[in-house]
Symmetry: C2
């Protein structure tokens, strides 16, 4: 853990220094400042409307942080914290101020010793210390003993339904098998019911929650200004993807991919097939993309519609834009080590979590 410790020292230096400035063409295009540090494998962050932040740690803690105040919130479901599993995403719906509802995804212990990906909701107490009336809205099948590819981001759609991203649990073939939830993006109502305009309602042998399928492990997801869902997806070697998600579409894994298996073996049938969607962009070499947001342009007109994706492997934040979609900038500093999640705040800033630094940062345009 020497490496991690050294990084922490580095972070402390930066915090002491106050901030880092991004230089583009000689002018500062952005600034990075630390908000809170000392997190253990943080996975997701949300900003509370009244101030303060919620941060998940993968081992199972949901933390409330506001300046010097920090505490673990009680009532979080018990998680299966092994491999890539644990407490994963946290999302606040748009009606949080009245509903106080907090949405969580996590790997849930299931019968027989395996785990699935679950979506839970609870109500945050007024003192931000407890989650009340916690219940699962959804639980994936089948359970799997593997510890890989759980997904899972949850995004509130423009119509108030919830998109939830599911990984293939390390079993690629199941991404094409719609009798499982694996390798799919799901759409679920806030009360856990299934929206009646989901694309496969009433079709035999297809799980009705499925909105799109053929995904490997989508761990970044966000809406654009038109309400379209975009995802960042861990692909095979040389095949990490940004996808624009269309109702009912098949994104092809593992039949098509721009990547190869990490063993070097060829994947499926090639890079394209009629009826299977192409990515909007792919990375070769793979960057291990995690959080994704589409920027509103608030206080940063040049960023309007740009897609920001955190890289776990190459320690930077990618800014993508244009048509065809291209990587316009790599925001790479000592703070951007293993970027797991990023969100936009109402003032157009980007909050991001560095796993290696164990720190929540603000990237201000």
């Amino acid at each position: 853990m020497l490496f991690a410790r050294t990084r922490r020292l580095w972070a402390a230096c930066l915090i002491a220094a106050g901030l880092a400035a991004g230089l583009a063409s000689g002018a500062a295009a952005w600034q990075i400042e630390p908000i809170a540090q000392g997190f253990d494998t943080p996975w997701a962050v949300e900003q509370l409307p009244e101030g303060g932040y919620l941060v998940t740690e993968r081992d199972g803690r949901l933390l409330y942080v506001d300046g010097a105040t920090r505490h673990a919130i009680s009532g979080v479901p018990r998680v299966a914290a092994r491999g890539q599993g644990g407490l994963l995403d946290v999302t606040l719906p748009r009606d949080f101020e009245t509903s106080r509802e907090v949405l969580l995804t996590y790997s849930k212990p299931q019968r027989g010793g395996g785990a699935g990906t679950a979506l839970a909701v609870g109500e945050l107490s007024a003192d931000n210390k407890r989650l009340l009336r916690v219940r699962d809205l959804f639980e994936s099948v089948p359970a799997s003993k593997g510890g890989r590819h759980f997904g899972s981001r949850v995004v509130e759609a423009a119509d108030g339904t919830l998109f939830v991203t599911m990984g293939d649990r390390g079993d690629g073939e199941t991404a094409q098998d719609r009798t499982t939830h694996n390798g799919s993006i799901l759409r679920i109502s806030r009360d856990g019911s299934i929206p009646d305009d989901n694309p496969f309602i009433g079709q035999n042998n297809i799980r009705p929650e499925i909105w799109s399928y053929g995904h490997r492990n989508p761990q970044g997801a966000g809406l654009d200004a038109q309400g379209t869902l975009w995802t960042a997806e861990h692909g095979a070697r040389g095949g990490d993807e940004v996808n624009r998600i269309v109702k009912g579409s098949n994104y092809g894994w593992p039949v098509i991919s721009y990547g190869r298996h990490y063993s070097g073996a060829k994947i499926g049938e090639g890079t394209a097939k009629p009826g299977m969607s192409q990515p909007e962009f792919y990375w070769d070499p793979s960057i291990a993309p995690s959080g994704l947001l589409v920027h509103s342009g608030t206080n940063a007109p040049d960023w309007k519609g740009n897609i920001f994706v955190g890289s776990l492997k190459f320690d930077y934040i990618a800014r993508l834009g244009g048509a065809p979609l291209a990587e316009l900038e790599q925001i790479k500093t000592e703070e951007t080590l293993r970027v797991r999640d990023l969100i936009e705040t109402p003032d157009g800033s980007i909050l991001f979590l560095s796993v290696s630094q164990g720190t929540l940062y603000r990237l201000a345009p």
Copy 2:
């Protein structure tokens, strides 16, 4: 014209015989009967709710037909009838019984001697003899002197807006150039204004009518039960396509295609590229697909959701279904010669126009 004359005799024999029966596994799966004959290069048909039919002839006539009654309707715009141009589609909106509006597409003479594709609307008089208050809702730019690839189907979307398909006017590069309407599917309001949720509103150098682009020559279009638009598209040699149309998408022509130029030359960059949509199905060899409908399943449960496409080149009606989409049946009889248009009527029958027979037929399940 001997060929055509012979065909007409054949048609007369069939009309005398009353109908032809389709046999599948020894049982009649469908029947074909003639409704009206003697059309000169018919392009499109609609059934009036009170009985009778509207049929366009490419040279510029809109005909009303009901049993022994037949007359040309006055007030149709003057068309540039050369090459593939002329009077093209006719569509009745869902409010026809109250609005009496008839939508027409046609190749319109423009300044300098060229022509564009236009969408006009008029109100059909109570005696079905005149189109009143005829006006253009849309006219494509730029004008072109070529006589190829005008499109053009018009389909009323579920929300009451109008989809209109545009060909590339024989100039493939313009299908990627969104400063032109060529090679695009447009979305226009019933009053000719531009819906404010079109995908490229407010973007510089993009025509705001554009809904999707990168099309070669889509001449078939219809909605499925979920309101999604599907098209049939004349491709290059070996690359005719069925496409599921997604807002804002690029269908790739002429950068990607499963076909080759008719000269044998390779097209663009291959068959796939990130950010460009794949077809749901393609024909190799090309069938020259024209009209398309997605069947409701009315009185034909086995046809529910199936896509019917007319072939101009191989003289049959293709029935497609399944996932991945596949050609399930070729309905090929002496009546299915150069099938230009097909529509579903409220009882689940399919009306189709054979150009070679000059005849409107009913295909009853």
